[in-house]
C-alpha cells in the first residue's frame, strides 16, 4: 500500500507525503502553504487528537500531549524549521558557544508576549531557573542535567553556563520540553502555574495564542502576530478537539466533522481512510521506536542465572535479531503505519545507519532461521531456549498484544525458542522492569529532541535508564565523545561507529519505527509532518 520506506520519505529539506498509494511530494522550504492568506479569514480549522494534556506549564509536564500544545504557543530559543531534523535559532538572533562551557544566545529585538509584556533575557533566565527550582516530579528538569546557571549581561543576551564543555546536545535541549520560554510576570517562580492563570494572563509568544481553553476537551488557538521566530506566521485560527476513543476520531474525520486527525488512529482506521475519497492520509517520518530490551543479568544465560555464559547470552540476543520479521509486524499489525527499524537511531536522523539489516537475518531485512540456528550452535546452545517475554498491553498503543503475539510466533516457529509471553499493567511494569524481574521486555521511546544522541545516551551509557546491567566501556566513552565533538562530520562518524558496536552487543533489539500519520479533509492544505517530530498547526489552511 503506502510505500513508506524511510529512505524515500526522509530527506533533509523536503518531506514526502504519501497518500493512499498515490504518492506526491511537497517541498517545504520555509514558505509552507503559499497563498494561504486568503483563507485565514475563513472558518477555524478543527484538529482532533486522542492525546492528553496534563498541564500547560512547561515546568510541570513531560509528555507528548502537553508538549504538542506548548509547541504552538510558546517560543523556543532553538527550534527545528519545517522539514528539518536540525535546530536553528528561533526567537534568537544567534546562538553559539562563546567558550567551551558558555553557550551565548542573543535574542531578537522587540519581542513581546500576547499580553503585551516584553520578552527579554530575564524571561529566558526565569524560565530555566524555575524549571530547575521547581523540579516537578512530572516535569522535564532532568533534561537540564548539564546546565549550571544562566546569566543575563543585558536585555537581549543570555549566557548558559554549562557543567561539561562543548555539549553538542545543548542546542537540541533548548528545543525540547525543557525549552519553552515563559512570561515571568504571569508564571510563578517556585510552583506550577495553573492552566487558567496562564490562559487568562495570555502568557503566549509562539505562533499561536490561546483564546479559549476547556481542559482536555477543546482549545481554541488564534494566530499571534508578535511571534518573530524561525517559523512562518500562522495561517488561520485552529480549534483542537480532544478525544477519548480513536474510533470516534476516525468517524468524525471521515464524516467531515473535523478537518484534521492527528495521533492516534488505529492501523485499521488509517488503512480504511486511505481508500476514502473525502480525506487524504499523510505520512511523515516518526521518531517513535519500539525495541526489545534484554536484562543482561536475568536473560537466558545471563550473569546471575545458574548457567551464566556471556557468549551464549549474546548468541541468544543475536538469534532473536535473526528471527524477527520486521516487515511482517509492520504490515500485518500496523499496516504500514510503522516501518521496520534496522538500527538504534531511527532512519532520517543525521547519522542513522541500517547496521542490523546487513548483520542479521537474511541480510536483506528478512528473518533467517538457519542463521539463528548457526549462531546458537556456534555458541554451544542446544535445544530450544526458553524466553520470558513481557509487554505492556496499552502503554505503547492498543496493538502491542498483536505485535507480541506475532513476535512469539516468529521466534517459536523456528523451533529455536519457547516463549512465555506475559503482559502487565503499566505502572507495575514500569516498576518491575528495573527490578530485574523481566529477562526480556518491550519498550518504546519518543524522543525529547530530534538528534541521534537522544537514542544513544539514555540507553547505552553504563548509567542508563534501562537499568539492564549492560556495560560496555568502549561504547560508553564513544557516546560521551560524540556529545562533545563540535565537528559535524566527525561526530556523525562516531555515531555510526557506536551503532556498529552496539549491533554486536544488542543491549536492545530495535524493530519498529513509528510513522507520523495525519488524516485531513481534501480541502485542507499544509499538513506538515517532518523530522522535528512536532506537529505544527500554523501551516494548515482550508480552501
Amino acid at each position: 500500500m503506502r510505500d513508506m520506506t524511510p529512505a524515500s520519505t526522509f530527506t533533509r529539506r523536503s518531506l514526502t507525503l504519501v497518500a493512499g498509494g498515490a504518492a506526491f511530494a511537497l517541498a517545504l522550504t520555509g514558505c509552507a502553504g503559499s497563498g494561504g492568506d486568503s483563507s485565514s479569514s475563513g472558518d477555524a480549522i478543527i484538529v482532533g487528537t486522542t492525546d492528553k494534556v496534563t498541564t500547560l506549564d512547561p515546568a510541570g509536564s513531560y509528555d507528548n500531549g502537553s508538549f504538542a500544545v506548548m509547541n504552538q504557543v510558546f517560543p523556543f530559543l532553538m527550534n527545528t524549521p519545517y522539514g528539518s531534523p536540525d535546530v536553528e535559532p528561533d526567537i534568537a538572533e544567534s546562538a553559539e558557544f562563546t567558550s567551551p562551557t558558555e553557550y551565548t544566545v542573543k535574542l531578537k529585538e522587540g519581542l513581546t508576549f500576547a499580553n503585551g509584556n516584553e520578552l527579554t533575557s530575564s524571561d529566558v533566565k526565569f524560565s530555566f531557573d524555575r524549571d530547575l527550582a521547581i523540579a516537578d516530579p512530572n516535569g522535564p528538569s532532568s533534561l537540564l542535567y548539564n546546565l549550571d546557571s544562566v546569566e543575563t549581561p543585558d536585555d537581549l543576551t543570555v549566557v548558559f553556563k554549562l557543567k561539561s564543555p562543548d555539549d553538542q546536545v545543548f542546542p537540541q535541549i533548548l528545543s525540547s520540553p525543557a525549552g519553552p520560554i515563559v512570561d515571568e510576570d504571569v508564571f510563578s517562580a517556585d510552583s506550577i502555574t495553573s492552566d487558567a492563570d496562564i490562559v487568562e494572563g495570555k502568557a503566549f509568544a509562539g505562533q499561536y495564542s490561546i483564546d479559549s481553553y476547556d481542559f482536555n476537551n477543546l482549545i481554541s488557538y488564534v494566530p499571534f502576530d508578535g511571534y518573530k521566530g524561525v517559523l512562518p506566521a500562522a495561517e488561520s485560527p485552529v480549534q483542537a478537539k480532544y478525544y477519548a476513543d480513536s474510533s470516534n476520531l476516525k468517524l468524525d474525520v471521515q464524516e467531515g466533522n473535523i478537518d484534521v486527525a492527528f495521533r492516534s488512529l488505529s492501523a485499521t482506521d488509517v488503512d480504511d481512510l486511505s481508500g476514502n475519497d473525502k480525506v487524504k492520509v499523510y505520512d511523515g517520518p516518526g521518531g517513535e521506536i519500539r525495541y526489545i530490551t534484554f536484562n543482561f543479568n536475568t536473560q537466558p544465560f545471563g550473569a546471575t542465572t545458574a548457567d551464566a555464559d556471556v557468549a551464549k547470552a549474546t548468541a541468544v540476543r543475536q538469534a532473536v535479531a535473526d528471527l524477527i520479521d520486521r516487515d511482517e509486524i509492520a504490515e500485518q499489525v500496523y499496516k504500514g503505519t510503522y516501518t521496520p527499524l534496522y538500527s538504534f537511531v531511527p532512519a532520517g536522523l543525521t547519522g542513522a545507519t541500517e547496521v542490523l539489516k546487513e548483520t542479521y537475518g537474511d541480510g536483506n531485512g528478512g528473518p533467517s532461521a538457519d542463521k539463528a540456528k548457526a549462531t546458537l550452535e556456534a555458541a554451544g546452545v542446544t535445544g530450544p531456549v526458553e524466553l520470558n517475554l513481557q509487554y505492556s498491553p496499552d502503554h505503547y498503543g492498543p496493538s502491542s498484544g498483536d505485535e507480541y503475539a506475532l513476535i512469539k510466533d516468529q521466534l517459536e516457529s523456528s523451533g529455536l525458542f519457547t516463549v512465555n509471553l506475559q503482559s502487565t499493567e503499566w505502572v507495575q511494569y514500569a516498576k518491575d522492569r528495573t527490578a530485574d524481574l523481566y529477562p526480556a521486555y518491550q519498550l518504546g521511546w519518543f524522543p525529547d529532541y530530534s538528534d541521534a544522541d537522544n537514542y544513544l545516551t539514555p540507553f547505552f551509557l553504563t548509567e542508563n535508564f534501562l537499568g539492564n546491567h549492560y556495560d560496555n566501556k568502549e561504547v560508553n566513552d564513544l557516546i560521551l565523545k560524540q556529545a562533545s565533538t563540535p565537528d559535524a562530520a566527525e561526530r556523525q562518524s562516531i555515531i555510526e561507529e557506536i551503532q556498529a558496536k552496539e549491533a554486536v552487543d544488542l543491549s536492545t533489539v530495535p524493530y519498529l519505527q513509528g510513522a507520523q500519520v495525519a488524516v485531513a479533509g481534501t480541502d485542507v492544505d499544509g499538513v506538515t509532518l517532518d523530522a522535528s517530530f512536532k506537529f505544527r498547526y500554523a501551516p494548515l489552511t482550508k480552501g
Binding site: D269, P398, G401, L406, S413, E425, Q428
Partner: protein, 343 residues
C-alpha cells in the same frame, strides 16, 4: 418426575447447576414461562457444552497464527478455512469464540463459588450474631456498594495479579474482582433471610432443645436461606460475563496468547467495525449477548416460579410459600446493579 420433562433438559446442566432445584421448577412451569425456561436452559447448556468440548470443536488454537499453509493473515473475510474470518491480530475468529466460552465459564464458576462462599458465610454470621459485628459489616458492605463496581474491579485486578495477564492470573483477577463486588449482594440477601428465619419458631425451639449455635446456623438457617440462591447465582453469572467484557474493554483483559476472551476481542475489533470489517466484532459480541441472555432467561424464569404472583396463573394457588417474598424482593434490586456493570 415425568421422563419427558427430564429428557427436555440438556444433560450437561446437571453437572454445572447440580445444586439447583431446576428440575422442580421445570415441572412447575407452564406455557410461555416453560418456553423461556427451556430456551434459557438450552442456550446455557450449549454454552457449557461448547466450553467443555472447545478443544474438539475449535479448528485452531486460540493463539494460533499460522498452520501448514502459512500465516492466516489479519482481518481476512470469512472463507472455507476460517468460517468467521480472522481478527486484526491474525487469529481465527471462530476458534477464539469457541475457546472464549471456556474462559467465560471458568470465570463464572470461580466468581460464583467465591462470592457464594464468602457472601453466605458473612451473611449468616452477621445476621445470626447481630450486634456490632453486624452493623460494621453492613456499613462496610454499603461502602463497597457505593464504589463504582467496574472501577473497583479494575483496582482489584491490579492488586490481585500485580497487573499481570497470564491465563490464571487473568482469570483469577477477573473472578476475584467480580467476587468482591458481589459479596455485598449475597451478603445482604443471606443476612436478611437469616434475620427473618432466626425469628421463626422452629429455630427458637431448636435452641431450647440445646442445639449449639453453629449447628442451628448450618442446619436450619442455611438450608432455608439458600433457597433463593439459584436466582442470584444466575444474575451473578451473567454479570461475571459482562464484567469480564468490561474489564477487557478498558484494557484489563487476559493476554490473547494466554486465553481467548470475548471482551478483549470485541475491544480490539471496535475500529474494524467503523472500517466495514464486521466479522471480528459481530461474533464475540453475539457470544456475550447470547450467553448472558441464556443465563438471565434461566434466572428470570426461576424468579417467576419462586413467586406465586408471577408464576403461571393456573398454579397461583398451588404453592404460596415463605420463599416467595424474599425471592422477588431481593433479586430485583440486584438487576439494578447488573446494569451498572455494563454502563
Amino acid at each position: 418426575m415425568t421422563s419427558d420433562v427430564i429428557a427436555s433438559v440438556p444433560p450437561v446442566k446437571n453437572s454445572l447447576l447440580g445444586r439447583m432445584p431446576v428440575v422442580k421448577q421445570l415441572r412447575q412451569s407452564v406455557g410461555l414461562q416453560r418456553g423461556m425456561l427451556i430456551a434459557g436452559l438450552s442456550i446455557t447448556g450449549l454454552f457449557v457444552l461448547v466450553a467443555v468440548f472447545a478443544p474438539l470443536i475449535a479448528p485452531y488454537g486460540f493463539a494460533q497464527l499460522r498452520d501448514a499453509q502459512g500465516s492466516f493473515g489479519a482481518q481476512q473475510p470469512p472463507s472455507a478455512a476460517h468460517i468467521m474470518g480472522t481478527t486484526v491480530g491474525g487469529y481465527d475468529v471462530f476458534s477464539r469464540v469457541i475457546w472464549g466460552a471456556q474462559t467465560a465459564v471458568l470465570v463464572i464458576v470461580l466468581a460464583v463459588v467465591f462470592s457464594i462462599v464468602a457472601g453466605i458465610l458473612l451473611g449468616l454470621v452477621s445476621g445470626y450474631i447481630g450486634g456490632w459485628l453486624d452493623r460494621v459489616l453492613v456499613v462496610i458492605g454499603d461502602a463497597i456498594y457505593a464504589f463504582p463496581s467496574l472501577l473497583l474491579a479494575i483496582v482489584l485486578s491490579i492488586v490481585i495479579s500485580g497487573g499481570q495477564s497470564s491465563l490464571w492470573g487473568g482469570i483469577l483477577a477477573a473472578a476475584l474482582s467480580i467476587t468482591v463486588v458481589f459479596i455485598p449482594q449475597y451478603y445482604r440477601v443471606i443476612r436478611a433471610e437469616t434475620i427473618r428465619i432466626k425469628a421463626e419458631p422452629y429455630v427458637e425451639s431448636a435452641k431450647m432443645l440445646g442445639a449449639s449455635t453453629s449447628r442451628i446456623m448450618f442446619r436450619h438457617v442455611l438450608r432455608n436461606a439458600t433457597r433463593t440462591l439459584p436466582i442470584i447465582f444466575t444474575l451473578n453469572a451473567s454479570e461475571a460475563v459482562l464484567t469480564l467484557a468490561g474489564l477487557g474493554f478498558l484494557g484489563f483483559g487476559i493476554e490473547p496468547s494466554a486465553a481467548a476472551e470475548w471482551g478483549y476481542d470485541l475491544n480490539k475489533a471496535l475500529s474494524d467495525v467503523t472500517s466495514g470489517i464486521w466479522w471480528t466484532a459481530l461474533y464475540p459480541g453475539l457470544a456475550i449477548v447470547l450467553s448472558v441472555l441464556g443465563i438471565t432467561l434461566v434466572g428470570e424464569s426461576l424468579n417467576d416460579l419462586a413467586d406465586p404472583r408471577l408464576r403461571g396463573r393456573k398454579r397461583v394457588k398451588a404453592k404460596a410459600g415463605a420463599v416467595s417474598l424474599t425471592a422477588v424482593d431481593q433479586t430485583l434490586p440486584s438487576d439494578v446493579e447488573i446494569r451498572e456493570e455494563n454502563a
